[in-house]
Symmetry: C2
Subunit: 329 residues, 2 copies
């Protein structure tokens, strides 16, 4: 027994790094999903990706040493927007400062001298949910992140779907309303992201305010740049009718999209994560109703819509670190 | 060498059964996808499913005996509409004579005394394509059958996606045009099947004919019940403008749906099968163009649209028989 416990204290750990458009979070995680040490830095202010990695190394090596040194680290898992699992590259990420195709996994591996695996941020979140979160024990689920954009990670047969090129799971860019709202980033019309993202909710609020008679909504007093799911939520719980309509409209479109996803991979659950989910039933109720309305009978009343319950600051690190456990040693 | 060849002649064989709304095809297949013996019977005219299985048995046992007897059969694979891989049941199949939930795999297994696996017809077709057809060697592809209805089988990470309940891959029922054409069978509006099936093409032809001035299309002389992708094709190759517009319209919607599927699972190829594909470039060109138009950049010019090249009569049997090879002996 003493032996087992002593070997446990030397069990492998993993490094998780989540690179976002604004900030980068990192941490040291054990097999049970405990974040032992963690930190955060700005992603911006490094014109060269090498400078960013130098700063990341200087910050992280302190934590790695505290946790027993590099020898205890099984590897490094990285989640990043437009990250490709197969090539370890980040490709044409509109929200990152480095343009073109960046061999991020190789650069990090060379600097840290630790095996490094990379995937996109939503895939990392899905893996985190599967190992430690709402999808624990599930073999078929879909993770949707409703943030600045709409990201997704899809798990079927217990495995993440990467597709033939590593780019599968771009559900935010699927068309829900053909000919619908224009998406600045992609030039496409009517995508899920153009409605169900933070930007989408803001645009819906602006559009609906313009159409409604003056003085009928609390939101009319909110400056346009402060119109977000938070301010719409605040108005809705005060009974504002227009604010509720904004959530109904958004939930309707989200539910229609979810129904299509269900008829694709028939998941046990859809896990939602991100700012919009904080509106609770205001967004979930119309989403659920619209999903059920658009499902054919055989799928109805079967699929759970769950909200991620991982701590937001940990979820990203956990998800990224979880990648490292699959590294073949 | 002589020994190997003698053992080869006693290699296992598999029975493939494809149950369709009208006819049922069956055959004995070897590991290399050669259909050694095959036959066909009507699915209709058996009010009780047990009577159907009795006739199927009487027909098939002759072929099984010719092929060396039941002892050589690894098992039976069955493809059927609304077939569920996990439960071996056929559930509420609108196009089959037997209503409710039918434990078809168990019934067939009991009658033939051979291990039996069942899945839906489009999934069986996908497995057939993966083992012997256009998807040979692919780990990520989508099979779409464009027949009376629109069926689909999705393969990711080299495995068919069944979903948590065995019903995944109902892409024909995904909504492409919200609020669009009503689908009699499901009561839903704007599904892919309501446009890209045989019935869908017929309805499009009728709608377009009603809107076009008299005497401007060859199709005006075709009785309504003869309007199908064949007659539209015949008119189109004679230069009929309306006939071409019917294919353009259908291809536009199909391509939009395919783009959404690509952004889900990023397949190497989409394999199309069924009557509509016989229109060749008339339907493929607008489909490809619309798919590319609706894809975000990272997916563009990457995904092949292929036509199944399996012999139509064999494909279904091959696909069903292929299921049997995975039966654990």
């Amino acid at each position: 027994m003493a032996k087992a416990s002593s070997s446990l204290s030397y069990e492998s750990l993993a490094v998780g790094i989540d690179i976002g458009g604004t900030g980068t979070k990192y941490g040291i995680v054990d097999r049970n999903g405990n974040v032992l040490f963690s930190g955060e830095m700005s992603t911006r202010g490094h014109a060269q990706v090498e400078d960013f990695i130098d700063e990341l190394y200087n910050n992280l090596i302190v934590l790695i040493d505290k946790a027993g040194g590099s020898g205890r680290m099984r590897g490094i898992g990285v989640g990043a927007p437009n990250g490709n699992f197969y090539s370890g590259t980040v490709e044409y990420a509109p929200n990152l400062p480095w343009k073109g195709i960046i061999p991020l996994a190789n650069l990090i591996q060379a600097k840290f001298q630790l095996p490094t695996v990379l995937t996109n941020d939503a895939n990392a979140a899905a893996i985190g949910e599967m190992m430690y979160g709402a999808a624990k024990g599930m073999k078929d689920f879909i993770m949707i992140t409703l943030g600045t954009g709409v990201g997704s990670g899809i798990v079927a047969n217990g495995k993440l779907i990467y597709g033939h090129d590593g780019f599968a799971g771009e559900l935010g860019h699927t068309t829900v309303i053909p000919g619908g709202r224009y998406h600045e980033g992609t030039g496409k019309k009517g995508s899920l992201e153009s409605y169900a993202s933070a930007t989408g909710v803001k645009l819906t609020a602006i559009e609906m305010l313009e159409k409604s008679p003056e003085g009928t909504s609390l939101l009319a007093d909110t400056p346009k740049d402060k119109l977000d799911s938070r301010s719409v939520y605040d108005a809705a719980i005060k009974g504002d009718k227009l604010a509720k309509e904004i959530f109904d409209f958004t939930g309707n479109i989200l539910g229609l999209a979810l129904a299509n996803f269900v008829m694709f991979s028939s998941p046990e659950a859809i896990i939602l994560f991100g700012g919009l989910t904080k509106a609770g039933d205001l967004i979930l109720k119309p989403t659920r109703e619209s999903m059920e309305d658009n499902l054919i009978q055989v799928f109805q009343n079967k699929v759970k819509i769950l909200i991620s319950h991982l701590k937001e600051s940990d979820a990203a690190i956990l998800g990224a670190s979880a990648l490292a456990w699959d590294i073949k040693s």
